[in-house]
């Protein structure tokens, strides 16, 4: 192990220890969190931030590493959350059987959904995933299959295990979310370093060349998407535990785009970058509204106050600026330009199609 690698592992270990002992700290951090760090409100914010980081990492696996721009990641997060709550509430199953069953069902949905969507490539794939997620979101908002409509569903009384129930146990939910990030990061970090992971990155750079070398591109893409979406469903399970239920806010276009935004913000093709993007995005969307109702903002004149009161305004502007001027996301500040995933394209811009500038030849 080289010295820099040892330093890196030590840094990661230290960070994990700090994150793990946060629930023991009784300190106020100004307006950043709703109360002292170890208050249930603050811990719930932190837990949601961790879940968002994990979701962003899972999308990075298929989007940043395999080049599959899914605009329907919310389908799997939402399905995981709803399936967990609905199945656990079934008295014959309970939480202990409901969770594994929900994850298994999500895996099936991930295989079927991606097998269909992958019949299209490039933007077509994005559109297909988006539309499928939207179908789920509509079904959930209308309350089909006992999903409760706009208010969503909550765990019935006594369904959650004691350690995860109630306000005083929010810190256990936080630790669960932290463990989720560690597991998801670990699985993804190992996967992208294996042979399969290298094939995925080959597909991202040029699907046609990878196919010519002799790899079954469709199968590799399906594997990447299925693993990614199944882990997203696991994030949905933890979301349901943290929130005590599932609601339509994690289903639908808005959430799907939010996850894409997290990954692009943090850095495509860099796992910790995606996690950073998820943390920033989720934290800002949760905390900016209360910041904007503070005195500093409400004293400003109207033309300034309107944009400042909208978290999406900040995030949208930041997103556009990053796409224009920093395509590698925030992570590229550290990793430098070498590892950004913007593809080098020919002057005619045929990169995504694999065949440079010859689409019209056959006609």
């Amino acid at each position: 192990m080289t010295r820099s690698a040892a330093l890196r592992y030590a840094g990661v270990g230290l960070l994990l220890v700090v994150l793990a002992v946060l629930p023991f700290l009784h300190r106020s951090v100004g307006g950043l969190l709703p109360g002292p760090i170890n208050s249930p409100g603050s811990l719930q914010v932190l837990a949601l931030v961790m879940v968002a980081a994990a979701v962003a990492i899972t999308l990075d696996l298929m989007f940043g590493y395999t080049g599959l721009a899914s605009f329907g990641h919310s389908l799997y997060v939402g399905f995981g959350a709803y399936a967990t709550v609905i199945l656990s509430n079934n008295p014959k199953l309970g939480f202990a059987l409901g969770v594994p069953l929900a994850i298994a069902l999500s895996a099936v949905v991930a295989v079927v959904g991606n097998a269909a969507a992958l019949r299209l490539t490039g933007l077509g794939f994005s559109m297909a995933t988006l539309a499928m997620a939207q179908g789920f979101s509509i079904a959930v908002e209308r309350g089909f299959l006992g999903s409760g409509g706009e208010v969503g569903v909550t765990f019935a009384r006594g369904v959650l295990p004691d350690a995860l129930r109630g306000v005083m146990n929010t810190r256990n939910a936080y630790w669960l979310a932290l463990a989720l990030v560690v597991v998801v990061y670990g699985v993804c970090a190992v996967l992208v370093r294996t042979h399969v992971g290298h094939v995925w990155q080959g597909i991202r750079e040029n699907p046609l060349r990878t196919k010519v070398i002799g790899y079954n591109v469709y199968a590799y893409q399906l594997a990447s998407a299925t693993i990614s979406c199944t882990m997203a469903a696991m994030c949905g399970v933890v979301f349901a535990v943290v929130m005590g239920g599932a609601n339509p806010s994690i289903a639908g276009l808005h959430y799907s785009l939010a996850v894409v935004l997290m990954v692009v913000l943090g850095g495509r093709g860099v796992l910790w970058g995606a996690a950073l993007g998820g943390i920033l995005y989720q934290f800002l969307t949760l905390r900016l509204p209360s910041l904007s109702s503070s005195d500093v903002i409400t004293r400003l004149p109207d033309p300034l106050q309107v944009p400042l009161s909208q978290p999406n305004f900040f995030l949208g502007v930041a997103f556009v600026l990053i796409i224009l001027f920093m395509p590698g996301g925030l992570a590229s500040i550290v990793t430098g330009r070498r590892r950004t995933v913007t593809r080098r394209r020919g002057p005619t811009g045929g990169g995504d199609r694999g065949l440079p500038a010859t689409p019209a030849v056959s006609r």
């Binding site: 019949r119 559109m127 297909a128 539309a131 935004l261 909208q310 502007v317 002057p347 019209a360």
Partner: protein, 295 residues
Amino acid sequence: MSTFLLIAISGLGLGSLYFLLAAGLSIIFGLMRVLSFAHGAFLSISGFASWMVLRSFETPSTPRLLLALLVAVLTGGAIALVVEVLLIRPLKGKELEQLLATVGFGMVLVSLMAGTWGPDEHLIPRPQWLTSTTSIAGAPISNSRLLLIGMAAAVMVGIHLILSRTRYGLIIRAGVENSAMVSALGINVKRAFTMVFVAGGMLAGLGGGLAGTYYGGISPFLGDSMLIFSFIVLIIGGLGSINGALIAAVVLGVSQSMANYYVVNGIGDVLVVVLLVATLLVRPQGLLGQKERLI
């Protein structure tokens, strides 16, 4: 029978709205390979522009309505021009980045609208004749639907005439086939890109003005909810094909309304997605799409 006809024509009106958005998206995608997520926001802001023209009247006159539609069209075009010059052009050749930039711009625009006018629906007053009905074969059909269907038909005819009869149409059709070759022949493709994007924005603007008269109100989020169905119309019809978009818009609008009325309210929206998945499985390039286009 009259109920059936009523539902069918309502569905046709809905399909017309999808078509107005999808037609613009379809030409833009065909020529520039850009899929714009900002078009929903274009539609919403144009709806608000028409609301600004109409809001101070109890029952506005017909010329006032036409003025509102014109303002809506111009608003859509102007914003599309800004987006094309500032976001699309610098990212030329990077399809995904262009798409993501429009996502970000759409977010900014929607949040500005929600911040300025609030997230709730604003009622748009309509002339007397628009709120009354015409009897067709015994079915009382709202005139706003007929206006919408008529406008969509006029747009369809207009697009066909422009594409087949004018020099610009020729450039656009050639650019769809091979834009590198067209620019090699000394034709300014860049300008054609801008024009097509602005035209798409104007169609979204018209959609926004008409959606206001159709629903009788406008909210910052109306456009985005329409946009999703327009994307589905695009994929089912075949990306880049306007005729495909027309067929898909009609089929989707009518079957969605039928299912929502005759089965359960809300099931029609799910049915649309089922139709999409079925299309992807049977014919992934869409009804009239060309296979190599989709890659």
